[in-house]
């Protein structure tokens, strides 16, 4: 796409690769932060259920690292479905 002659000469040849790496890092960051957040929540509710046995079980929690994975996957698929074909 960046090879389009209407753009003229690119100032930076590997613009597409650089943006690809940005996307790589972005999705890593989202997933990493999500997983850390979920784990932090899990540890907190685990500590709570130790205090009161039989209380809120941490299995009820909706969010899990799996869920974060799927969310990032789905976001990626949808995002690239938005504009896929030349």
């Amino acid at each position: 796409m960046f090879a389009n002659e209407c753009l003229g000469e690119l100032a930076f040849e590997s613009t597409a690769s650089a943006i690809l790496m940005a996307g790589l890092f972005l999705s890593f960051l989202v997933e990493y932060l999500g997983i850390r957040l979920v784990q932090w929540h899990g540890a907190k509710s685990a500590a709570k259920s130790v205090e009161s046995p039989g209380g809120a079980a941490r299995h009820v929690s909706h969010a899990s690292p799996e869920m974060v994975n799927i969310a990032v996957l789905e976001a990626g698929v949808i995002f690239h479905s938005l504009r896929e074909y030349p």
């Binding site: 209407c6 943006i19 996307g23 999705s27 784990q39 540890a43 990032v72 504009r83």
Partner: protein
């Protein structure tokens, strides 16, 4: 049109598939490609969504008691097992959190391990735990995820038709917008595909890590066939 609103229009336009812009001759080809592409993607995403909340490698029939590589067979800590030390508590929490926790299982060896009898009871209670945990991701959530995927492409095409009259495929700002989105989504998909699926499934404690020969060969054939077919579609489009 002012530059600002023009750029905005271009970005919106990018959402619409160029399918609606393409001429009649290429339409059939593009249509077939899109159908296959979306089908492969839907199958892939659908299997992932359907498998949500289920332990991925523990239910492999060939290895009902986990694998030699680590202690990642503690997918779900039983509710009644109270961690005794802080280290164990953190370990248990993270073990529960990370479904195939090889990273943790390596760190785990430093922590005091539970006696092997506890491990035995863990793996015996595991099926019920797995069944219980499959309900943590509700059917509603799964349907929501599936529906989001199913509706986005037609929606994009609709928007594309709507802004068709403003389309100029050789406008530099349009080209830049499309190129940036393409590269960015490529990065996201490389991350998800290579790290999350390829590496985790095949090496880092996923379903194929300890699969038997037949399963491995079938999986490898599927992997290569998928790459070949998608490349073919890419060349074809």
């Amino acid at each position: 049109m002012r530059p600002n609103s023009k750029t905005l229009t271009n970005i919106v336009l990018v959402i619409g598939l160029t399918l609606v812009v393409a001429g009649d001759s290429t339409f059939i080809t593009l249509f077939v490609v899109i159908v296959f592409h979306q089908m492969f993607e839907g199958i892939a995403l659908g299997t992932r969504i359907a498998a949500l909340g289920q332990p991925r490698s523990a239910d492999s029939p060939a290895h009902p008691h986990g694998h030699g590589l680590g202690h990642h067979d503690h997918f779900h800590e039983p509710k009644n097992s109270m961690p005794t030390t802080l280290a164990e508590e953190l370990g248990a929490a993270s073990d529960h959190q990370r479904t195939h926790a090889h990273v943790h299982s390596h760190a785990h060896d430093a922590h005091p391990r539970k006696p092997s009898t506890a491990e035995e009871s863990d793996s015996t209670t595991q099926p019920t735990e797995a069944c219980a945990s499959s309900h943590t991701v509700s059917m509603r959530m799964k349907l929501l995820l599936a529906t989001a995927f199913a509706f986005v492409t037609p929606l994009g095409m609709g928007i594309g038709i709507g802004v068709l009259k403003n389309f100029n495929g050789n406008d530099p700002s349009t080209v830049i917008a499309i190129g940036t989105l393409d590269a960015l989504s490529a990065g996201i998909l490389v991350w998800v595909g290579v790290v999350e699926m390829w590496a985790h499934d095949w090496m880092l404690g996923g379903e194929m890590t300890t699969a038997g020969p037949l399963r491995t060969v079938l999986g490898m054939i599927g992997l290569i066939a998928g790459m070949a077919l998608m490349s073919l579609l890419g060349k074809w489009a």
